[in-house]
């Protein structure tokens, strides 16, 4: 699958118009300078040769060099990906933490004001563009109320901790830098809320629909007849069965969020791979585009693998050979 992804990305990168060497050389560069760069980065070689070289590099962890930043793509990804990973993971955790209970409440109190309110929130999540929500949060929470920073990951004069995991929040904790951790958390609130909102509403909708179906099942009626409490029936018996489609949605959302953070990263100056990829795309800088695509592909696969394992944990029938 990853090989297919590489082939498609490489092919697309080569057929789009634009001369990456000319763009990298600068607007005033003469032909001689453009040719110098073309040769330096191997762009003067036939496309199949470039592809084989690229594949060889990928196998040893060399994702090529960015024409724009002049850095190794692997180094750039190491710098930017942990930021996106933190943003997406925190957003998804928040979306799950809020989306599932809200979906549950909405199903339990179906057609009441609780349900209607939750559905309004749910429709808003689909209707509101992320950049608009981000800008509004910045305007109200950061600019007018002054509660949180406008953007970035840390205050201007603060330095990040020496990297251990390259995840800022985790590194701050591991280094015992409480102030840095709090500062980083404050900077993360608005982007996390912005990115979380569409995911939250998707999770909530799916969870609500599944819960409504599950709550109609005979075994739920039977549990009620046996006098189990409402809370126990919903959380222990209904939710577990309703979680399978919700988990699928969470897995898919994770992949979408990894590849779709660019607007949030732009609004909040979050130095992640979304911005890195877009900057590369507008400069026809192929290697970073392929590196980012590959990385997102790998993460998407891993996320869905985890979801598959979680199916088994939730439903013992899936663990058995032959499945349910």
């Amino acid at each position: 699958m990853l090989f297919g992804l590489l082939c498609i990305t490489f092919a697309i990168a080569r057929v789009v118009p634009g001369d990456p060497a000319r763009l990298a050389a600068g607007p005033d560069a003469n032909e001689d300078m453009v040719e110098t760069l073309r040769a330096k980065y191997g762009l003067d070689q036939p496309v199949p040769v470039q592809f084989v070289r690229y594949l060889r590099g990928v196998l040893v962890g060399d994702l090529g060099q960015s024409l724009r930043s002049r850095n190794a793509v692997a180094d750039d990804l190491l710098r930017y990906f942990p930021n996106t990973f933190e943003l997406v993971t925190l957003s998804l955790l928040l979306a799950v933490a809020l989306g599932i209970p809200l979906g549950m409440l909405s199903a339990v109190y179906k057609d009441t004001w609780v349900d209607h309110t939750a559905r309004i929130v749910s429709v808003s999540g689909v209707a509101l563009p992320a950049f608009w929500l981000g800008l509004m949060l910045q305007l109200v929470i950061a600019l007018h109320l002054g509660l949180l920073p406008l953007g970035g990951r840390l205050p201007l004069t603060a330095s990040p901790p020496e990297p251990i995991t390259h995840l800022l929040l985790v590194d701050a904790l591991l280094r015992g830098q409480g102030d840095t951790f709090v500062a980083a958390l404050r900077h993360a609130v608005l982007p996390v809320v912005t990115l979380c909102f569409p995911a939250l509403t998707s999770i909530m909708r799916v969870n609500r629909a599944e819960m409504i179906e599950t709550l109609k099942q005979d075994y739920i009626q039977s549990a009620r007849a046996q006098g189990f409490s409402g809370l126990r029936i919903v959380t222990r018996y209904a939710l577990r069965n309703a979680m399978i489609p919700t988990l699928t949605m969470i897995g898919l959302r994770y992949g979408w969020m990894l590849g779709g953070t660019v607007l949030v990263e732009t609004v909040f100056d979050w130095p992640g791979i979304g911005l890195y990829a877009v900057n590369a795309a507008v400069s026809s800088d192929f290697q970073p585009i392929m590196g980012v695509t590959l990385l997102i592909g790998v993460n998407f696969m891993l996320a869905n693998l985890l979801v598959d394992f979680a199916y088994g944990w939730l439903d013992p029938r899936i663990r058995r050979p032959g499945g349910a």
Binding site: L23, R70, P101
Partner: protein
Amino acid sequence: MTITRLGGRLLVTTLAVLVATAPAVAFERAGDRKILVFAGRQEVPTIDPSVKYDWSIRMMQQALYDGLVKYVGNPPEIVPWLAERWEVSPDARTWTFHLVKNARFHNGDPVTAEAVRFSFARTLKLNQGPAWMLSAFLKEDGIKVLGDSTIQFTLTRPYAPFLSFLPWWYVMNPKQVLANQQGDDLGQKWLTSNAAGSGPFRIKRWQQGVLYEIEAVDGYWKGWPSKDHVGGVILKLVREAAAQRAALLRGEADIVEGLSADDFDQVAKTPGIVVPNVPGMTTFGIKMNTQKGPTKDVNFRKAIAYAFDYGALVKIYNGNAVLQTSPFPNATRGHVAVPDFYRQDLAKAKELLARSAHPTGGIELEYVYVQGLEEERKMGLVLIDNLAKLGLKVKMVPLTWPNMVARGAKVETAPDMMAVFTTPVSTDPDAVAYQYHRDSWGKYYGSHFYANEEVWALIERARTLARWEDRAPLYLEIQRRIAADAPEIFGMLANRRWGMRDHVKGFVFSPVRFTGEVDLYSLAITAK
């Protein structure tokens, strides 16, 4: 319900913690240093002076390095910097520079003629960045060290504009560069985010994609223009205009660039914020393909040029722009207002159209512009409206910058009309005139594929003459002839604007700098 109450308490507690630790506003301080915060949209992917330049890169290069000479003021003047004086031979081939004796690199090494030789040779050898400015005239063996403080450049042929490009050729410390060389890269990898200069600032933090912090060099060899000079500068990347504006209003940024005309007008009304508003050298023109399609016909091109509503260009910028009066920007040396320069005259436009192959219009022209650039889109709408009066339709085609450059690279693919902003890198008229030379074909500003052998000959002759008195009449003629051939709709020069907190002093504008670029050396903060 217990869960709901618990969640509510958690939320309230979290908000209370966040409010209690809300950040302070205004410029940053590091000890007794006042650190200016510049919120800019553009990254600084490398600061290697031999590799790349654009406004953000050059702003940092100018802060970290020195050149032999420097552009200062408006109109821009070339003033001595590392070179205290120089001589040029009568044929403009041999240039001899005498260096100041007290200049020091940041590590304490003296700035010598050998360092200058190394730096120029390195840029020529790497053949990137500013190399194009001199590579046709200067070879490595033409650079001679005549003493510790004297260096001589012997050009392969006379080139009068030589001096005008030198402000962008920065001097590096050879010892530091070679000590950090990897393989035969001449220090390229290291110089991407490290500096080996003698400039007024040194690097403090370089967090790629986040911020770049430089600190003032105490005892800078050239001295500081103000006792309140900034103690350092943080170039913070703020990529969204709305966030830039908010940062300025909230006091989290001292300077912002790149806001829209409306945003600049609005922040200018805010107490505590000033907006310098000065004409730059960046021209906006709509290049017409002079070799293919209907715009190949000079009468057709002129008809379009006379049909265009130039006043609309100024309105798009809320009045913060001036119209071009010549193919050359106003700050270019030798600029003259060409008599009867193009302004809207529909009768004349119809008369010229009648002389073309499409006397009644009836065809569609393609207008290509940069996707997402609102001003260029509005200019396209003006074009649609204006050309409809000639019976011509306009198809607006937004393209990403790489795709647009690719379209303009070949005469076969260059569109009928292409919106282009161009900033010359020098005040010498050759820097603009050469955009109409055959050698500029295929570059984004050469997408008109303008061909006039007589004009080319004038351009080639003018650049080789040493005396300005001999060059000036040639440039007068060049401007007149290019205007007569109408290879483009000569548009306007938008004003350069920045939003600044009013405690920022010492801002010195020079139109030869790129959009957004500020000379950080002269800045001061007067607030306590």
